[in-house]
């Protein structure tokens, strides 16, 4: 038998450490309380309110991101113009922004005394301490996850498909809807899943900008924090639900990715020149 090198042993130990460190807290979440207790805790008003609010706000935010982000990403992917790389950097910035700083930045811009906040207030739109404010915060932090992925997906669409569509009499809008989006669909869906996952877990920017009012701005992550001192079981139950949803999202991204690769394999020409 071949002797294991010292380095092999050390790296195997490192890997074991990583896996244990990452999985023990997640497993404990479910081990701490039985399923019955978790289910009962979820029935509490504050937990139900928070989950429903999370579901509602993240889905609205996701719709906004898809509606605006998809054509924007398409333009960035298919054209070269001055300032394109600046635009892409700007889009990526919220990815590395500390959430608390993002919340303050939103207040500075859209708050009552903010740069454009007054104009928004005059128009009769209230954001701060409102559900709409939650959506704004979610869109701000989650949209880069989708747009980045969408740009990559559109860039990898074969340009000749776009050209072919145009020569077949389709204008730019029809080409976008009938050819570009279906061809980029796997990348677009995984981008949407990532953005949704990020929005579900959003905490800092929402707290800073929209506050933590039960039923109005208190999303599931905020409720977990709020319940922590008073009702550990409910806090635990909400966390378990979020973990389950996040895991489901991750799994769907992986499955979509696998389907995409299978399509590529299938797409190879059948003929072989001899």
């Amino acid at each position: 038998m071949r002797r294991l090198s010292g380095f092999r042993v050390v790296s195997a130990l490192a890997l074991a450490l990583v896996l244990v460190f990452l999985s023990v807290p997640l497993v404990s979440l479910f081990a701490e309380a039985g399923p019955g207790e978790l289910w009962a805790a979820l029935g509490r008003q504050q937990a139900t309110d928070a989950l429903l609010l999370s579901l509602r706000t993240t889905l609205i935010a996701l719709a906004v991101i898809l509606l605006v982000g998809t054509p924007a990403a398409y333009l960035l992917a298919r054209s070269s113009f001055r300032g394109r790389s600046v635009a892409i950097t700007l889009i990526e910035l919220p990815l590395v922004l500390p959430p608390a700083a993002a919340g303050i930045a939103l207040l500075a811009a859209l708050g009552p005394n903010g740069v454009i906040g007054a104009a928004i207030e005059d128009a009769g739109i209230e954001l701060v301490l409102q559900t709409a404010g939650v959506v704004v915060a979610l869109v701000f932090v989650a949209s880069p996850f989708f747009i980045r992925q969408a740009i990559a997906a559109f860039e990898s669409v074969d340009g000749e498909l776009i050209d072919a569509s145009r020569t077949l009499g389709a204008g730019e809008l029809r080409t976008f809807a009938r050819v570009a989006i279906p061809s980029a669909l796997p990348g677009l869906s995984s981008g949407a899943a990532l953005a949704w996952g990020r929005a579900l877990g959003e905490f800092g920017a929402t707290l800073m900008f929209a506050g933590s009012l039960q039923g109005r701005t208190q999303t599931a992550p905020l409720a977990i924090y709020s319940l922590l001192g008073r009702d550990f079981d409910a806090s635990l139950a909400l966390s378990a639900v979020l973990v389950a949803i996040s895991a489901a999202i991750l799994l769907s991204v992986k499955l979509v990715g696998r389907g995409e690769r299978a399509d590529e394999r299938e797409g190879r020409p059948v003929d072989v020149a001899v």
Binding site: E160, T167, L168, D271
Partner: protein, 354 residues
Amino acid sequence: MLRFELVNESDGPPLSLETTLEGAGTLAVMGPSGAGKSSMLRALAGLLEPERGRITLGDRVWLDTASGASLAPEQRGVGFVFQSYALFPSMSALENVAYGIKGGRRDRRARAAELLERLGVGGRAEARPARLSGGERQRVALARALGRGPDLLLLDEPLSALDPRTRAAAAAELAAVLAQAPAPAIIVTHSFEEAAVLGDEIAVLDGGRLIQRGTAAELAARPASGLVGDLAGASVLEGEATAGRDGLTLVTLAGGGSLLSTDPVRGLVAISVFPWEVTLSSEPASGESAMNHLAGEILSVTEFGNRARIAIATPQQLVAEITAASVDRLGLRPGVLVTAAFKATATRLSPRPG
């Protein structure tokens, strides 16, 4: 009549072309990589905007950079067959063809089914492109390009992705489809044989310029440059032409040797000699006739079927095509000294820039 002038100088692929296409004829376009063949097709389709240019089809103006007129690709009415076919992967063959057809859903599907049937792939209507063979994809792509009833057909190497065994048959079918189509067609190809089968005329491009245009026979008979001779399948030698005896042209070959030609060209020349006009013998040259003789060592012997191609270092490389039986009879193999002979009338000269 299609009339176009395309000029691209500073940015993008170089182009400087002007030509016309009468009636519903087919023009085959040849040239080395980067000659501007695909750029020409893309500019005609509106997928590439030249710096200067004008494209008119009949009395319709597709492009006129002088007046700022430029129709979008979807407004031009071209049928484009891409080299990779560019079939939409998420649609069936039928949906691909129906995509370009105008009208109601049922009419479009009926017309698409009819086109697929006509091109011999009616049975594959529901298959996705990934499930089609190369030949089937080519037919679906052609059906899709024909679907709109285009005013101009553009085909970018439509046969290059095919298996060589099916390629000749596909070329003949394509020629029949193009002959039936009421629109003029421009087809890019790398093969002189295909160009001869598919095109009423052949245009040769190099560096974005039109070098020569004519029938396959005209191009082979008097290639305007060494490139044209090479594309037509000739061995191309280099030399310098001066006046010779009997009103013939005497060509001194670069690297040694001389030839006689009936072509009245002077100065630096490219000499095109077709392999099937060259005979070989193991005897040294005898005599005086207007026959050209070049002796040299055999570089390679390539047999295919009952024929063989012999490359000879004269010292410039000359290729002779002879029967496989002659190879055995003369004992030809690499390293053997032979004498190649061909007529002065088969020695085609074209001027060569210095």
